[in-house]
């Protein structure tokens, strides 16, 4: 996975969004005031309407100021108590069943089983929790109004805002409970499903007698487990490691009776990437903003030509030895991850990949390391550990240290990448190369993923409660469900509503279908055409408005990070939390106003 867009810095983002929020709230306030006045004026006449509107605003202000946490908690307890029984148990049992049968269908032979298992549990949990939130929130308030139990609530000194907030809290508590239970279960499921080890007998290992290997090094194959085997390399002391298969490797230790392989490593990781700034040097060796275009439509990546002076230079900042230290102490290498694309003008050996090289340079002293070559295969994330002991490019006798010599005093380093084969090109974008600093805890990252799901759940609950203050239970459920579906595919809907409309909007498409007209032939000009186009553009405009109003659930989902083994940045999480809170605030306010202005009795 690469992060194609930068995560904006928190403070500028906050200021920007806060200003946006203020404008939205102001617009909503004015809009609802006008709408409320119009309704009141139609019902009571213009003068009385004004009085009624004023009264509503004043009582709303009083209600919001006098909202009591004690009563909210009492109502939340009620909602919790109402739903704690059957529904929660049903949802949990459902999840258990899903997990039980999942083992049949999740293939451990996939190239990256960690990703498969994680994406499965996260999406299963996400779906289940959102469904639970949908059902809980849609049926409760309309049920209370229908069974008239609401009478005994609203005749107590309970403000309508407390009813909305109490329900939101109660159902959130239920959802949280389910989420916690499924989270623990999922974690255990994933960890235990992926946990395995292999065996290797001393007789399976043989001495390597090739150049480039140290004396005493042995290699051999492990036994077959979890549908794969590893190549083991051990040094003279008998300790070593395996190669990477299915996204993981094992440590090998010498025991009295033979060799022992540890648990799989690297499969459940939370990488913390450090991104850099990309600049180019063209084939003549001059600075350039971009590389060259190879004529692809997607201009995300630009290319450097092989075997020329062209390089792609990344500058990384704020580095220190500490950021890369591991649990075993100071770092032994600088981990660099690359996912470059390759454009070939001749086929070469597809299997072998294209050779590239890396140089590290201190931007202040211009001290440069000797080149480190690697092979790029398309569509593969290469994780290269460049040993910290390097040799000066200018003076082969001088040993240098990456952390001491190549990282400048203010923590900067340049990574220079070249394509070493003539006629071949490397394509790259800023996010394609990153330094991998010390990994974060996977368990914490997993928890962060659940926090994303939790936010989605709270938003669904709030939407359900908001709709249920006005609509009956089935209609509420439909509305909430529609919001979830549209929110999940928000980007697609936006594209649909604002993209190029081949064949026009729904009305035009229907006419084309009925008249068997193809998508590109223009409609016959006239009254009909303009009516159809006006209707369609009104519809698409409405779709855009609705899409804008509904939450974009995919932005809250951090599943991609977890599944691909990246740490969810704290700033991103904070952004999600804040934007969800702002959204909730508006939704609750609308819910309150709906409930306030309606008669709960019939």
């Amino acid at each position: 996975m690469v992060l194609e867009s930068d995560i904006p810095n928190f403070l500028p983002w906050l200021l920007d969004q806060a200003w946006f929020f203020v404008r939205v709230v102001f617009a909503l306030f004015c809009g609802s005031l006008l709408f409320g006045y119009l309704v009141a004026a139609i019902r009571n006449g213009p003068a009385k309407g004004l009085i009624v509107t004023r009264q509503v605003v004043v009582t709303a202000a009083v209600d919001l100021l006098c909202t009591s946490p004690r009563r909210i908690m009492a109502l939340a307890w009620l909602s919790f108590k109402e739903s704690i029984g059957q529904r929660l148990v049903v949802a949990f049992v459902l999840f258990l069943l899903i997990l039980m049968f999942a083992g049949w269908f999740l293939d451990p032979d996939s190239p990256n089983p960690g990703r498969l298992y994680l994406s499965f549990v996260l999406s299963a949990t996400n779906g289940l929790v959102l469904m639970l939130a949908l059902f809980l929130s849609s049926f409760s308030l309309p049920g209370d109004i229908k069974s008239r139990t609401i009478y005994t609530i609203v005749t107590k000194p309970v403000r309508r805002s407390e009813i909305v907030l109490g329900r939101l809290l109660g159902f959130t508590a239920i959802g949280t409970l389910l989420l916690a239970a499924t989270g623990v279960l999922s974690y255990v499921f994933v960890v235990r499903s992926l946990d395995h080890t292999h065996e290797i007998q001393p007789s399976d290992l043989s001495l390597i007698e090739k150049s480039g290997y140290q004396p005493g090094q042995k290699q051999g194959q492990t036994n077959y487990a979890q549908k794969h085997r590893h190549l083991v390399t051990v040094d003279g002391t008998g300790n070593g490691s395996t190669d990477i298969q299915h996204g993981h490797w094992h440590e090998v230790t010498r025991t009295k009776s033979g060799y022992e392989l540890g648990p799989p490593l690297g499969v459940l990781a939370a990488r913390v990437p450090i991104g850099g700034r990309l600049s180019f040097v063209d084939r003549e060796g001059k600075q350039a903003d971009k590389g060259i275009s190879v004529g692809k439509e997607w201009t995300y990546r630009s290319y450097i030509a092989g075997s020329t002076l062209a390089t792609a230079n990344w500058q990384f900042e704020n580095l220190s030895e500490k950021r890369f230290s591991t649990s075993e102490g100071p770092p032994k290498s600088l981990p660099i991850a690359l996912s470059l694309s390759v454009f070939r003008t001749h086929k070469g050996k597809i299997e072998r990949g294209v050779i590239g090289s890396i140089e590290l340079r201190n931007p202040d002293t211009q001290l440069t390391s000797r080149i480190y070559t690697f092979r790029v295969r398309e569509f593969v994330l290469h994780e290269i550990d460049i040993p910290r002991r390097q040799i000066d490019k200018a003076d082969p006798d001088r040993a240098i240290d990456i952390y001491d010599d190549l990282i400048s005093d203010d923590g900067r380093i340049e990574v220079i990448i070249r394509c070493e084969e003539g006629g071949q090109y490397f394509g790259m974008a800023q996010a394609d190369v990153y330094l991998r600093s010390q990994d974060a805890s996977f368990a914490v990252n997993f928890f962060k993923g659940y926090l994303g799901i939790w936010l989605q759940m709270v938003i669904v609950v709030a939407l359900g409660v908001m709709f249920s203050t006005l609509l009956s239970a089935p209609v509420t459920m439909m509305a909430t469900m529609a919001s979830i579906v549209m929110g999940m595919f928000s980007d697609y809907v936006l594209e649909l509503a604002s993209g190029p409309e081949y064949g026009g909007g729904p009305i035009e498409s229907l006419i084309r279908l009925l008249t068997q007209r193809n998508m590109t032939s223009p409609l016959p000009p006239g009254m009909m055409k303009s009516m159809v186009e006006t209707g369609d553009s009104a519809y698409l405009f409405a779709l855009r408005v609705v899409n804008f109003l509904l939450p974009n659930f995919s932005t809250y989902s951090d599943t991609d990070y977890i599944v691909n083994g990246f740490n969810v940045p704290a700033g991103l999480l904070l952004q999600h939390l804040l934007s969800a809170a702002a959204y909730l605030l508006v939704v609750c306010l609308i819910g309150y106003l709906f409930l306030k202005t309606r008669e709960v009795a019939r």
Partner: protein, 330 residues
């Protein structure tokens, strides 16, 4: 010897909605004077309610220009056949419905004001309670909606459960309750905040005769504590027994308003109830009546009401279990 006098009912002049005080007749005027001394708890002015359908078209005019005043310390009955606007009035007073025109004031503030609910208790037509809670949880929950400390809430909960006689079932979820038990816990929740004003919608429905008697006794006891009660009912006997004043509604209009004793008093008729009277004495009394030029409408052994009889039998059998109640079934 007990005597009751009955004759034709007198109309008080309160049928005109614009005039809230029925002061045309001397007795009603006295009553009005008496109540005028205490503070007005409920006041409706020109209160009207129209039910509309989804499109805003008028469906029913449930209440037409109602003017009422209920004063502190009385039991006020709203009387009328089904669909006469009793429940609508109560819902308007509670802010469950919004008036189409006119206003409803409770404790001097608008009925839609939430703060007034601190001093109000409401027993709905059927006790709409949460079935998954038990009696203790129910009262505790409603208690938490008021400014009550935990200690006070627990004390009050225990007290009320005892008062409505549900101590034996206090841990059972309400879904297992019979209708009468639900009614009792409903009353308990209405009293959780020790309200000054209690609104009761058909308080005696679903109760057995003992329950009805206990409910009535409780209502009177509450009145005696200085609380104001407003109840609506179509059971005349209940209203007659407990209410100080009543309003009779029909098709959303106020038809009658006044003190119960005044409204039911029948001047010009005399009823004698005498125990152990010999036949000769009966003849003599008839002769006296004839001599006086009065007309004897009927003469018979008076019957007790069914309610009284039932209660007596039950009390008798509770006092002496296993025996038939004496002398009633011969």
């Amino acid at each position: 010897m007990a005597s009751k006098s009955r004759s034709k009912r007198k109309h008080s002049a309160a049928t005109k909605p614009a005039n809230p005080k029925p002061a045309a007749e001397p007795i009603a005027a006295v009553a009005a004077e008496k109540t005028a001394e205490s503070e007005v708890v409920i006041e409706t002015r020109n209160l009207s309610k129209v039910y509309r359908d989804f499109w805003g078209r008028q469906k029913v005019q449930a209440l037409k220009s109602l003017d009422l005043e209920v004063r502190k310390g009385e039991i006020f009955g709203l009387l009328g056949p089904n669909g006469s606007g009793k429940t609508t009035t109560i819902k308007l007073l509670l802010g469950l419905l919004f008036p189409t025109s006119g206003e409803a004031l409770v404790f001097g503030t608008d009925a839609s004001d939430v703060a007034k609910n601190e001093r109000i208790g409401y027993l709905p037509e059927e006790s709409y309670l949460y079935k998954f809670l038990n009696a203790e949880e129910t009262l505790d929950f409603y208690g938490r909606l008021f400014k009550m400390s935990g200690v006070e809430r627990r004390r009050r909960t225990a007290e009320l459960i005892d008062k409505v006689g549900l101590r034996w079932a206090r841990r059972r979820p309400l879904k297992e309750y019979s209708k009468g038990m639900t009614r009792r816990i409903g009353l308990a929740q209405a009293l959780i905040n020790d309200p000054d004003l209690i609104l009761l919608d058909e308080p005696t429905t679903g109760l057995d005769p003992i329950g009805i008697r206990e409910m009535k006794d409780m209502l009177v006891a509450l009145r005696d504590q200085g609380k104001t009660l407003v109840m609506c009912s179509h059971l005349l006997a209940d209203v007659q027994d407990v209410c100080d004043r009543i309003a009779i509604l029909h098709q959303g209009e106020l038809k009658e308003l006044g003190r119960v004793d005044t409204l039911l008093q029948l001047s010009g008729e005399t009823e004698l109830r005498i125990a152990n009277l010999s036949d000769e004495a009966q003849q003599e009394i008839k002769a006296v009546i004839e001599r006086d030029g009065a007309k004897l409408i009927s003469s018979k052994n008076p019957t007790t009401t069914l309610e009284d009889l039932f209660l007596e039998i039950v009390r008798d059998s509770e006092a002496r279990p296993g025996r038939r109640a004496k002398g009633k079934s011969t």
